[in-house]
Amino acid sequence: MNTSLNYAYYPGCSSTGTSIEYDMSSRAVCAALDIKLTDVPDWNCCGSTPAHTVDHSLSSALSARNLDQVSSMGLDSCITPCPSCLANLKTASHRMEDKAFRDKVNNLLEKPANTNISTKSVLQILVEDYGIENIRKRVVKPLNGLVVGAYYGCILNRPPHLMQFDDREHPMAMDNIMEALGATVVPFPLKVECCGASFGIPRKDVVMRLSGKLLDTAEAIGAQALVTACPLCQMNLDMRQNQINHANGSHHNMPIFYFTQLLGLALGLTEKELGMNKLCVSPRTLLDAMANGENLKEKAA
């Protein structure tokens, strides 16, 4: 077992707000697996989508500052739970290999940034560095009976040449983790379809349509819950599930977990540590039934 997993940790803005349970469960899971995380000191927002729609150098400057902070910690690898933050960090360090672009970005910063930092998602290090087989060994409360679909969202592994993680069309990382935790995984056909992303506020109708389709499909294939690895996806599917039902006339009541929450549960962590109470669609019934060993499939039927 690799005992020396040690990363700089970039939580991202939503970890202090709407995706607080993702942050809590990520930290709790890493602690339980002896993965050492050190917060990037005084990190700033990566600029998310809005920044790169304004200008690439602005977007990269925001990320470059964060990468430089990592470098000042004496570490050369950084992880983050959020795919959007990850994409921006990766784009910045990739594009800054080009001298002209680097100069342009450094021009916006206090001091030239060292951006030669390897960045990965929490999901990626769990799968690639820690290993699914090792996770399997640590399971104390298997998720027997839970029928779950894995939804990855659009930018966790795209564009492929940049993200370099899992299959671009048919990722399996979370499916494999859930399987290792003892859950029954149903193949979710829309794994990489967009949920509507940050359009929740300005164009709610778009999110209602796209996320609605995801929930419809999840239900059609018999999933009791979805697992996600992205704050925005989770927010659209969970927090807005009521709005979606309202807009589309549907009746979904599907818990949307962060994969770290279910992973933590299987590792024996408490619901509180994992922020289960922060979910908008309550997983109570589902979790109780699972704890009582009820046949969830029958119940669902």
Binding site: D167, R168, E169, H170, P187, P189, L190, T217, A220
Partner: protein, 652 residues
């Protein structure tokens, strides 16, 4: 040596960007040059006549033509100077078209460069010597590699022309891809009715030796005298006595063997004959699935075989064949479409390949000619065909057009309607390529008479929705995204070079392009020749081809072989190495590095010396660059000839 220089305009191809008259004028000043002129088309009849006349009038000892690449017309002009009584090696070419006029428009620089190239050619020419080929006898047998329709055609044409043919086929039956097809476009006639009799002809032809389930292990020798080592793979059935009765296959309890002939629609037995019309019709055991071979238990086939030909101990066998020419007809493979994750990557049973669909349509196929969804056996109503899967797609490394998918898709759409009159076919296409005789009419019929719905756009995603597949594509003519609920999706997968193509090319010493397709001698003028004498190409190994083109090439390759064998002796290329026996110190370094074993050690007055076997030497010149004292010189590319070119270019 009196030299004549002819600078060709090539119409405007050269003249437009090279001042040919100035090049000729500059050439007149070169040492040795007594005559120089520019001509409109040097390769034309009047152009060639001008050379012949100039040789006679000026008593020329050598000729330089500055025109196109020697790969185009060196042979032409060598014959010209020969007509005028010169040895054909007293001729040099300067390539001022492909290497000059076509790659830039700076007339001054081009003219200047052309002058340099002509100077180089004259300097080399002055050091050329008359060379005379040796004659050698040839073995008038021909090897055909690959038993698809191109190979069958080549083999039969050669055999009918009186040649002994060795046909080597990788699988247990000849017939290739065509044998798997149900019908052919644009006539919609039955594939096996056309091909079947030709396959039987191969089996019965007295001049043809067929090695099925065999591969080429090694190729040695050169044109006229190749030696081929053939590996006959173990079939575990003695084919001399196997009658193809099929009892073994009926009784075999192992029912989950891979059915490659049927493109893995369903399974076959561990001992099997791929299809009823197979040639040769012999059984073979697939060791991966045979319980006897795997676990030493079973033995049913041996018990039931009426002629006792099952042999579980059989090993691969090697035979050596001597031939004088080789026709390569190794065909193509289907692109592995599972790289397209967006089409399910192989996870959805009702997304199948066009060739799988073909087997489904075939009356002798696994479904008996009924179209059924692999998932539930139901008849589909909406069938979606997707074109260009693994064609015209850089992102999967296949930027080329396979060329025949448009046609077979139209055929399959028509056949779908014939089989299921209530069905509706949809075709997602980018462009319709129907450039053969009656081809466009055929695709029009699919639309006009069979109501096939053609949608102009690629498909981005297929995913299951209930028991249907949702196909999400674009209709670029409408300018929007479209969706089709499909019961069955058929992918028109493109062709790629067959898996072993590059390995075989290395054995044949022929070149192939970056996709693994074999390179022809010249894209226009030598479509079935290769750059290796005595090796010819037929069919899709040279690039994707439909049946008529493959057959035409099979015949073309056969005619080349028959032409080659129309003489009893061949002339060896005199551009071989020669040893200056005085200079040779017998160190043997040339012998050590010669890839062909063409140099032997001889005893000359008690001293060891090297000696070149002229008919074996292939003219690579590795020996020449190895010999420190320059005692072994490759004729027509001697140290002095190359040095003279260097000196002509680099004058301090």
């Amino acid at each position: 040596m009196k030299i004549g220089v002819f600078v060709c305009h090539c119409g405007s191809n050269i003249e437009a960007t090279v001042d040919t008259a100035a090049v000729a004028a500059a050439a007149r000043e070169f040492p040795g040059v007594v005559f120089a002129t520019d001509t409109m088309y040097t390769c034309s009849e009047p152009g060639q006549d001008e050379i012949v006349e100039a040789i006679k009038e000026h008593n020329l000892g050598g000729v330089v033509v500055a025109s196109c690449t020697p790969r185009m017309h060196e042979q032409t002009f060598r014959r010209t100077v020969e007509r005028a009584g010169l040895n054909k090696y007293l001729f040099e070419m300067a390539n001022i078209r492909e290497h000059v006029s076509w790659i830039g428009k700076d007339r001054e620089a081009n003219t200047n460069k052309s002058v340099d190239l002509v100077r180089m050619a004259t300097e080399k020419l002055m050091r050329n010597r008359a060379l005379h080929p040796k004659k050698f006898t040839i073995n008038k047998r021909v090897l055909v590699i690959g038993g698809g329709v191109a190979g069958i055609q080549a083999a039969l044409d050669c055999a009918d022309g009186g040649l002994e043919v060795v046909l080597v086929e990788k699988t247990t039956t000849i017939g290739g891809k065509m044998a798997k097809l149900d019908k052919t476009f644009p006539t919609v006639d039955c594939s096996s009715c056309i091909l079947g009799p030709r396959m039987v002809d191969v089996a019965q032809h007295p001049n043809i030796t067929l090695y099925a389930y065999a591969e080429i292990e090694e190729i040695n020798g050169y044109v006229g005298n190749f030696e081929i080592k053939v590996k006959k793979k173990a079939t575990y059935v003695d084919w001399k006595n196997c009658t193809g009765c099929g009892i073994c296959m009926d009784k075999c309890p192992s029912k989950k063997a891979r059915d490659t002939f049927n493109e893995e629609i369903g399974f076959t037995k561990a001992i099997n004959i791929p299809f009823p019309q197979a040639i040769p019709k012999k059984a073979k055991i697939d060791p991966e699935f045979c319980t006897m071979l795997k676990k030493g238990k079973c033995g049913v086939c041996a018990k039931v075989c009426p002629s006792g030909c099952i042999d579980y101990e059989m090993k691969d066998e090697f035979v050596t064949e001597k031939v004088g020419a080789i026709v390569t007809a190794t065909g193509f493979d289907l692109f592995d479409w599972t790289v397209y994750g967006e089409y399910g990557g192989g996870r959805y049973p009702d997304v199948i390949t066009s060739l799988q669909y073909e087997r489904m349509l075939s009356a002798s196929g696994p479904t008996g000619g009924h179209i059924k969804r692999p998932s539930d056996g139901k008849e589909p109503k909406n069938v979606v065909f997707i074109q260009c899967v693994g064609s015209r797609d850089k992102s999967v490394g296949r930027p080329y057009c396979t060329g025949f998918c448009c046609m077979y898709t139209a055929k399959q759409a028509i056949l779908t309607k014939d089989h299921l009159p209530l069905s509706q076919s949809y075709v997602f296409y980018m462009d319709i390529r129907a450039t053969g005789k009656l081809y466009d009419e055929f695709t029009r019929r699919a639309m006009e008479e069979y109501d096939t719905n053609y949608i102009r756009g690629r498909v981005s995603m297929i995913y299951p929705k209930g028991d249907k597949l949702l196909v999400r594509g674009a209709d670029t003519l409408m300018g929007t995204q479209v969706e089709v609920d499909a019961d069955l999706v058929v992918l028109a997968v493109g062709a790629e070079a067959s898996a072993g193509a590059s390995g075989l090319a290395e054995k044949l010493r022929i070149s192939y392009d970056s996709y693994g397709f074999y390179m022809e001698g010249h894209p226009k003028l030598k479509p079935v020749e290769t750059n290796t004498a005595g090796v010819y190409l037929a069919g899709a190994c040279q690039g994707p081809k439909d049946i008529p083109s493959s057959v035409a090439q099979g015949s073309a390759a056969a005619s080349k072989v028959l032409g080659l064998f129309s003489k009893d002796q061949l002339e060896s290329d005199p551009q071989v190495s020669m040893v200056d026996i005085k200079r040779c110190i017998g160190c043997g370094k040339c012998i050590q590095t010669c890839p062909f074993g063409a140099i032997k050690e001889i005893d000359f007055r008690g001293m060891a010396k090297a000696d070149v076997i002229e008919t074996i030497c292939q003219g690579c010149g590795i020996c020449t660059s190895t010999c420190p004292q320059g005692a072994i010189q490759l004729q027509h590319a001697t140290d002095n000839q190359i040095l003279s070119e260097v000196n002509a270019l680099c004058q301090f």
